[in-house]
Amino acid sequence: MLPDKEAIAEQVFVALADPSRRSILAALASGGPATATDLAQRLPITRQAIAKHLGLLADAGLVTPEPGERRRVRYRLRSAPMQVAQQFLAALARDWDGRLDALKDHLNQ
């Protein structure tokens, strides 16, 4: 079961490592579901490149296509894989180490 979870988190982090895909995900998070055309109007990325990225993101399960207006497919963020990545980040964000150093300094005074 763990490899699945790791694979899910890895998909999220790989997607976020690419500036174009990161800005697409950020736009979907900020503004909600959108078509490739919508995103092309808001981002400095060509519509063709956006369509390609959305296809990859859909294959990875990070966005899901759904029917939009005027027969255009629009894409919605999937929260489930983001939550798995968030679990990973929640563990990283505990930051014991820096504080334990500060704690030792405090105790040694």
Partner: protein, 143 residues
């Protein structure tokens, strides 16, 4: 890539276990070094809550109470929706070392499988455990 399921840290504190225990398990203690205010029903299955003046809160369900050595509870994972069933288990272990205490905290369950998929913007407490442990020591030193 490895998923970080478990966190473990230890710290030596120059105060006896009974005093550390009190700081961990009373409303007065928890409300001083951990939250800004706390309530606690100290028994397995009992509930505790900490609130912070900035407005957030943490609800804990107490699992282990073995005074003055083991105190365990579960709570919500930061960043997940409030009604998400995923919870991590936190356990404090107190061992006497000379006149002081070795305090170990473990937190497990970050890698558990999701049960569902709710929508949520991410918010986190990046100070988290680190600052709580520092504040615990400050609280004990002031008492």
């Amino acid at each position: 890539m490895a998923f970080p399921d478990r966190i473990e840290r230890s710290v030596e504190i120059e105060h006896p276990p009974a005093k550390v225990w009190s700081a961990l398990t009373t409303a007065e203690g928890l409300g001083s070094w951990f939250g800004n205010q706390a309530t606690i029903d100290l028994r397995p299955g009992g509930l505790a809550q900490m609130t912070w003046t900035e407005g957030h809160k943490a609800d804990m369900r107490i699992e282990r109470v073995e005074e003055p050595n083991v105190f365990g509870f579960t709570w919500h994972i930061y960043g997940l929706p409030d009604d998400d069933p995923r919870r991590t288990y936190v356990e404090f272990t107190l061992e006497p070392v000379g006149a002081g205490t070795r305090l170990t905290v473990t937190e497990t369950g970050f890698a558990q499988l999701p049960q569902d998929a709710h929508e949520k913007a991410f918010e986190g407490n990046t100070n988290g455990w680190a600052s709580e442990l520092g504040e615990l020591v400050d609280y004990l030193n002031a008492a």
